[in-house]
């Protein structure tokens, strides 16, 4: 309990100091609330085609209606759930896979390292998006878990490579040698001694895998390879583009979902960037005080 409160305190201090991280955290929080309680924010059933098509902006319809007569704002709010869930689930699974593969490779060494590294590098260099398109084309109307599977399969390798490099650099530190000399088990060494110093890299990894998931899934849904009958920002873009929303004079139908995707994406990217600055002090913004000190 005490550890938890000190962790929360540290997070709060970090967020207060870093404007980028703060902005990212606030956006993320809002989107998480949207994900948990979409019905609080949707005045209408997002799928119901009950209004006149292509209405402009009004108080009743802050973003107008689609050419099917659905309320754009309600669709936008309801779409948060799928994108955020996808980001969290794919980010989580990719990170686990990266940690397991990267650390096993570094810790076990030898032939296992060679094999795992080769596998990582091969998956890393094969361009993933065309591959994902082809897989989705074969499965047709990919559901949530198909998309998750494909994104995890193609998205873990970059993280695994980074994990391996950092674990290798930690492997021969004195405190790890000491743990080994004490006769601790491999499990203990890996989980208590090796992983905690890598926390910031693991978090950064989660964030970039989540960002990858959001953007790639949006692209897939945009070309109609997701399930086009579910509520998500990507499928909104698909329907908007198929009905030529831009040319037909209701651009918000197409532009608003992109802005939401970008909000989620920027939140992840901003947090990631802030974490980068934590793990690499050289990148921290130059404050006036630090600059004066450097000049003196």
């Amino acid at each position: 309990m005490k550890r938890l409160s000190s962790l929360l305190g540290a997070t709060w201090r970090f967020l207060r100091r870093d404007k980028k991280a703060f902005a990212g955290a606030v956006i993320m929080l809002v989107l998480l609330i949207l994900t948990a309680f979409p019905s609080w924010f949707t005045p209408d059933d997002p799928a119901a085609e009950i209004y006149s098509p292509g209405m402009g902006l009004s108080w009743a319809h802050p973003l107008g209606t689609t050419s099917f007569g659905q309320d754009v704002f309600s669709q936008l709010m309801a779409g948060a759930r799928q994108s955020v869930m996808l980001a969290l689930v794919v980010g989580f699974l990719c990170t686990i896979l990266s940690v397991v593969v990267g650390i096993s490779a570094a810790y076990l060494g030898g032939l296992i390292d060679d094999g795992l590294s080769l596998l990582t590098d091969v998956i890393l260099v094969i361009p993933t998006f065309p591959l994902i398109i082809v897989i989705a084309a074969y499965t047709k109307n990919a559901n949530f878990w198909t998309i998750v599977f494909v994104l995890v399969f193609t998205g873990w390798s970059y993280g695994a490579r980074q994990m391996r490099v950092q674990a290798l650099s930690l492997r021969n530190r004195d405190y790890l040698l000491a743990a080994r000399a004490r006769g601790e088990s491999s499990w203990y060494i890996i989980s208590v001694e090796l992983i905690p110093p890598m926390t910031s890299l693991i978090v950064a990894n989660f964030l970039s895998a989540a960002l990858y998931a959001v953007l790639t899934a949006a692209g897939l849904q945009f070309v109609g390879l997701g399930n086009v009958n579910t509520e998500s920002w990507g499928t909104m873009l698909y329907w908007a583009q198929n009905n030529e929303a831009l040319a037909a004079g209701y651009p918000l139908w197409a532009l608003a979902p992109g802005i939401m995707i970008a909000l989620l994406g920027s939140a992840l990217a901003l947090l990631n960037y802030a974490f980068d600055e934590v793990s690499n002090p050289a990148l921290r913004p130059v404050t006036n005080r630090r600059r004066r000190k450097a000049l003196a």
Binding site: L124, L215, F222, Q241, G258, L270, P285
Partner: protein
Amino acid sequence: MRFIVRRIGFLLIALWAALTLNFFIPRLMPGNPAQAIVANFRGRINPSALHAIEVALGIGGHQNLVAAYFQYLGNTFTGNFGVSTGNYPQTVTHVIGVALPWSLGLLGVTTVLGFVLGTGLGALAAWRRGGVLDNLLPPSFIVISAFPYFWVGLLCAWLFSLTLNWFPSLNGYNATVDSPGFTWTFAVDVLNHSVLPAFTILISSIGGWILTMRNNMITVVAEDYVKMARAKGLTPRRILWQYAGRNALLPNLTGFAMSLGFIISGAILVEDVFNYPGVGFLLLQAVGNEDFPLLQALLLLITVAVLVAIFIADIATALLDPRTRNNR
């Protein structure tokens, strides 16, 4: 030398893995879509086209998996990808041949431009730590990098084409007034049509170069030899480009290869938004038409292109930087 041999070995293994993946994807999908596709086409198209699909998917009907696999490898190496069912009776090779120059032109120009501009801006931002460029560029490009490429394309099409009417937003050239050929008007037309797709890819991809270059540069500027150069009284311009810039550039070159796959992914959707007649547009059309021979060949083409580009970048890095040769 040993390094180059290792890289060639890796290239071959990656190529083999891509080929094998390509072979197994249609078979591993639930419900065996390869069989379903062939069954679906049976009776609707003539036997030779059906055979072409079977060749592309590697299901000869009478042979076992191993024989099919080797037949598939043989067909791939001889460039025999069969007939495109969506563009019947044209061959897959012909259809791709028409689309390829468009993509090569678009991606070639935007990637080189993005790399040069982004690297330059990144170096300048790091050089003046805390300056206008340094405060402005990283945060704005973090946000821009969070926008999907295709959405930036939609925005550009809406703003610069539908609203302001500056540039055309569809197709590679105006087919009603122009025909492909080596004429001045056609060249201008093509250029005019490529402005928006190129701008979209440039805006979306340049942030990556800026950020990596800036971060490398910050590390390099703190090195002793840069201090030494300052102490010698060299001009700042010379230190920036000849000393620090050159060394910070190397990791960016490796990043170049890595991000190529990412840029190509984005370009596929950008081509789709602008109906730009390149490989990406073709890929998505093939998806829509269930043109699986074309789909498989395109996947292979893109993969091989990226793998070869990475290989070239690796070799270039090794030639430019002795350190990478030793420690791998």
